[in-house]
């Protein structure tokens, strides 16, 4: 459904905003992920992983790569009232990995819609945020997203465009003030 030129535009815009974007096949993903995780030193580290939203089998693949890279994995746990994070382990995580259904070419933004176990906080608290999407999930812009949305909006929609940044001291752009300093986005072909 996404035309190649809008995906190209997404890549250009996202990179301009400071997101690292990479297109990979399903077969290449574990290797590339392991490479990226290998750069995070001093294991054992904790990785925060979304529990829901993933296409069939992908969460297990990612989890396996994390474990083999020396990470402990924390996920929102399902209890009777619904999902909840182990706050301490989430706060200690150095990497967060989630699935993202839609992303926007116009601004190079990820669109994270809330839902049980979707793990949005994993894109916010850790220093490194890794996001996986289907390459076909690209939309033109936010208006397009709203048009396709069925019914009432979810409790939260978060647009993420590049890393957390601040210019509050002498307008010097600095990354990673509250959220991640690095955002890596894998587009699955």
């Amino acid at each position: 459904m996404s035309k190649p030129e809008i995906v190209e535009r997404y890549i250009r815009m996202a990179q301009a905003a400071g997101t690292d974007v990479e297109c990979v096949s399903g077969a290449e993903l574990p290797g590339r992920l392991a490479e990226l995780l290998g750069a995070v030193n001093k294991p054992p580290e904790i990785a925060a992983l979304a529990a829901s939203g993933w296409p069939e089998g992908l969460r297990e693949t990612v989890e396996a790569v994390l474990v083999s890279s020396g990470f402990e994995v924390t996920m929102p746990r399902k209890e009777q009232g619904g999902y909840s994070w182990d706050r301490d382990r989430l706060a200690a995580a150095s990497v967060g990995i989630v699935w993202c259904e839609r992303y926007l070419a116009d601004t190079g933004s990820l669109v994270l819609a809330s839902g049980p176990g979707m793990g949005g906080l994993a894109t916010l608290l850790p220093e490194i945020s890794i996001v996986l999407s289907d390459a076909k999930g690209c939309l033109e812009d936010l208006a397009d997203f709203f048009r396709q949305m069925e019914g009432a909006p979810p409790s939260r929609i978060t647009l993420v465009t590049g890393p957390s940044r601040t210019g509050d001291i002498e307008a010097t752009m600095t990354k990673g003030v509250h959220g991640p300093g690095k955002v890596a986005h894998f587009l699955l072909l």
Partner: protein, 467 residues
Amino acid sequence: MKSSHNFRKASASAVADEVLGAAVGKTADLLFSMRAAAVAAYPGFEELRDWGRSRKMEVSGDLATFVRRFSDRLEAAGGAAHFARDAREAVEIVTNIARGLGAVAAVKSKSMTAEEISLNEALPEAGVTVTETDLGEFIIQLAGEKPSHIVAPAIHKDRAQVAALFHETLGSAPGLDVGDLVRVARKALRERFLAADIGITGANFAIAETGTIAIVTNEGNGRLTSALPAVQIAIVGIDKIIPKLSDLPGFLRLLTRSATGQAVSSYVTVITGPRRQGEEEGPSELHVVLLDNGRSPLASGPFREMLHCLHCGACLNSCPVYRAVGGHAYESVYPGPMGDVLSPLLWGMDVYADLPDACTLCGRCAEVCPMRIPLPEYHRKLRVLRAGLKGEAAAWKAEAPAILTQHPLLYRTALGIMRRVLSLGRRLPDGIRTGLPGAWTVCRELPHPREGPDFRSWWEKRKSCHE
């Protein structure tokens, strides 16, 4: 009530402060040029401004209905809507919620509306410590100061001042560079985020159709403040309402380009009610305090379009006065051109009588305002309003010279005398330099007429030669 302040005195001491001038000028210039570049790169921006204005006109034309619609939809989504007529009521609502929860710690993401009601001063009295989480606001809070820009609150401080402040208050090593200072703040603030019972935010937009609020930040502190604590309280001026969710993309384009020259900020959080069944992110209670505080009367008056202000700060960055003095000289939450107009309207002409004069009528703010608010015209209108408050005697005193000027002969005679006086130049006694000439000569010499005959004599002579 605050006593009437003296902008001349405050601005005179601000222009004498070189660190301040350099810091404000540097950041404002940068923001100004980033805005210009972002607008130039977006071909439809002028049409988008017209569109945005017309959407806001719809709201300001029927404000009460939109406020009601927003609160109905918010409640339908599971949130709680509260109305506050003024600052006191708003503070009361917030402190009551905090007391009811037995809360002890709140984190706050930047909100000028919360500044407007002095929430930070009131919460400690209710037993709640508040931590500002926007880096600029955090710096200001540590320094015990007030923000001096509505988007970049610590614009008046340079990096050396921030390093010294962190060293003193947070015990970090002296002389850190910007990157290290940011890491120090991250660590200190992360602990506060995790420990907070309440997250206090503002909102950049409140969407009537769906009861949604949107929070825009670059740092992610707005997102953390609204996602981690169990309770979120958003303080939202009723001027923040836009009609529909489908309006949000257009307003975001206008806001972020005007504020920081970005196509979009790093984080836009669009919140519709509290967390839902089964979800692990977001507050379980969402309160929205809808603040009037002098706004609704504006809708039916001559300053209606002030309700359209997006609080983007573009007018501040464009303003020669703001750039020279920074925000504190205005002694108001809202500085710069939008503040010159809003402060007297919200808090009284008696308090802010001199702010309408803090403007050269250069017109640059109107060029950059995304909502096309006629800010220079509003400054003029406030001057008219103020003149009207000064009474008959003052009005007559101001009109008398106009009567004289209206009569060609009297005008020419007066001008002739002035010309002769000014021609004396340096031979004029010092005693003349009081009042108007005194103010003029603070930074200039008195003007002297150029050499040669005056134009009228030349014209007559020339005409008689031609005839």
